[in-house]
Symmetry: C2
Subunit: 401 residues, 2 copies
């Protein structure tokens, strides 16, 4: 996971320990572009959002950024006007050290909700962190590690692309293990590339990439107050993508986003299973997403998989209440390749064998298909989720977020 992940040209990163976390683990991450980078961001649609979301969302429309500053251990959410002042101050302090304006710095925070940021620790830590900025893979790993809260491993992904115009690199980091049910964006993620991109291109590529990745995962159906994914393009490769190259670059950004998003599911709190949900034959992508999300958010579907129970009734009934119009007579379901429900009626299958498979392996594949009827169509989506275990309940009844 953590090997061979390299920064794109024109970027430096750092991780540092300010002392925000009682555990003494690192809590401050910096991502800095040598010059003004084209920038785009997508943010939580939660009405109760963190102060950093409010500040960063107001700055993204400028289309460029020099840096991203992220602290973990405190989300600076639901902290009122003093929280906004603190988020602005974090960016101003870093901006002065980098020699740019505060509006060129984007900010994210993650951790406990409703507690004022410990500003003295941050004011002392930010200058220290800038001294650690470097352009190697270790610095990126340090930064990814400093973003973690209940994550058990840092989440990084990078990709080298050979475009017609030359080689470019994409690298991304993210964090998250619970309060995962994104809409527009999820958790904290930073994606960087050294391709030459306009701000409008950044926005388009990021939105498209996030829509099929970060917006297709769910741990517990609870949308965070802090969800943010940012894309920065330094242009340091000198490669200005052609129209064809832009499609390749978009695929690459989507792939990096997918690697990051699925790593969140692999690290889902207390989870025993990694569940891939394919929904197909649906009239619109939006309807397919709604159906997949209903399945991914069902506690009864999740606990059935925890128990190794091929309980297809819970899965098709979740599809049934998703709000999507369909005739069950055209609906079929496979669990790990075995057809368990065919055209609206129970299929004959070896339940013991399917149960054995669910118990023996961590990966689970659910395929729900509408194969006809007036309400069917050509749209398909893939979602990812985790199961629901007693360990999830223990973690979340004992930990304050």
């Amino acid at each position: 996971m953590t090997v061979q992940v390299l920064l794109p040209r024109g970027f430096r990163a750092a991780g540092y320990t300010c002392g925000i976390k009682a555990s003494g683990k690192s809590d401050l991450a910096l991502f800095v572009s040598d010059g003004p980078a084209s920038a785009a961001g997508v943010f939580t649609t939660n009405r109760v959002c963190g102060a950093p979301v409010i500040v960063s969302r107001s700055r993204v429309p400028t289309g460029t950024a020099r840096a991203v500053i992220i602290n973990s251990g405190n989300s600076n959410a639901a902290t009122g006007d003093p929280g906004i002042a603190n988020a602005q101050r974090m960016t101003a302090v870093l901006a002065e050290l980098l020699g740019c304006g505060p509006e060129d710095v984007l900010v994210c925070s993650t951790g406990v909700i409703g507690v004022p940021l410990p500003m003295p620790l941050l004011l002392e830590g930010i200058p220290q962190a800038t001294r650690k900025l470097a352009d190697d893979g270790q610095s990126l790993l340090d930064a990814a590690t400093a973003m973690m809260t209940t994550d058990t491993f840092p989440k990084l992904s990078s990709l080298d692309l050979h475009l017609a115009g030359g080689g470019v690199r994409i690298a991304g980091v993210c964090k998250g293990a619970a309060m995962i049910a994104p809409n527009m964006a999820t958790m904290l993620g930073v994606v960087m590339t050294d391709a030459v991109l306009t701000p409008a291109q950044c926005t388009e590529l990021l939105r498209a990439g996030v829509d099929e990745t970060f917006n297709c995962i769910s741990v517990d159906g609870h949308m965070s107050t802090s969800d943010t994914v940012l894309l920065l393009a330094s242009g340091a490769s000198g490669v200005r993508p052609s129209i064809e190259d832009l499609a390749l670059l978009g695929d690459g950004i989507r792939q990096v986003c997918q690697n990051l998003a699925t790593s969140i599911i692999r690290d889902a709190e207390g989870a025993d299973h990694f569940i891939t949900v394919d929904v197909s034959g649906i009239v619109s992508r939006e309807a397919a997403q709604r159906m997949a999300r209903a399945i991914c958010d069902s506690a009864l579907v999740k606990t059935a998989i925890t128990g190794g129970d091929p309980n297809w009734g819970r899965i098709v009934s979740a599809a049934g209440y998703s709000g999507v119009a369909f005739d069950p007579a055209w609906l079929s379901l496979r669990i790990n390749g075995t057809e368990v429900y065919r055209a609206g009626t129970p299929a004959v299958f070896d339940a013991a064998a399917v149960s054995q498979g669910l118990k023996a392996q961590r990966e689970v594949h659910l395929e729900l298909r509408l194969s006809g009827g007036p309400e069917s169509g050509d749209c398909a989506v893939r979602f990812w989720t985790s199961d629901l275990t007693a360990e999830y309940v223990r973690l979340n009844s004992e930990y304050t977020t």
Copy 2:
């Protein structure tokens, strides 16, 4: 709970053991009106619904019914065309014994999904059950008991009303402990009254009553395939309500529905807490319901309460992603009477005392109030939910529904 619950005049009930359940517990309930009763029903909006829902929904528009037949232990859902034939056959057998047409009998089933009904057991059991029909409280208790699946106690409620035109009685029964997230109706419920009502009045009183009770509870956010609530009015009291009496009768039906619906939450699988959620100051009832439901369906809110954690951040953030537009600067929250969040900022409160209260008592009261701003209004709703425990996970990873 089970004392002093009496049948309205003109009704008989019975419970019987056909042998559908491996446990050997009773599994067949009958509710019979001496003559044609005015009838109304509300049903699950799940696209994947049980065969009995399809059959009963098609019969309710006739406006009258003689009987309701309910089996537990098998939901006859996702069973295709043979399932519909089996549901029709159940009604035909009872209709012949009662001397009415099959279309005068409504049918409900609850239990495992996707398994054919054991028809030989039912065909033998239905005549036996009719011999036990009686108009006393014990028969109503027997019928309520025969509807149970994972319920730990039978759910009954009755009320005597003194209208201007004379005395009438309302009695109701229901079942349910999981797969509870109703929309239009929930689980199985039968409400009976001896008032003289037209079918249109039945429909109006049932819809209004259910909307504020059964439609305001959630255990796990998973809408059942079998949700049904029926209202039968025998007219045997001879009391034909005036306009004023109709309002009183509506209140009475709502009260019986509320007693039944909250008893489902008191029996929620694995739950340690009974949570009442009041949302107020909202622009529309629909918006207030959406906000309350988001809070009730959040695994993070539920596990916080399980852990005795006054974690208001999880509660206000669930309101924030409910899809309802509001400005958090006008939002306040009380937990068990203590203000923990005021006008968008954390309130100073004794967290240890609130936590102690959550741990010491089963009842929890959450009050979320929007007290101003352009998006506020006069609407309020009350919802009821349960917490999420490791025991819920254990029950639902070991039990096939």
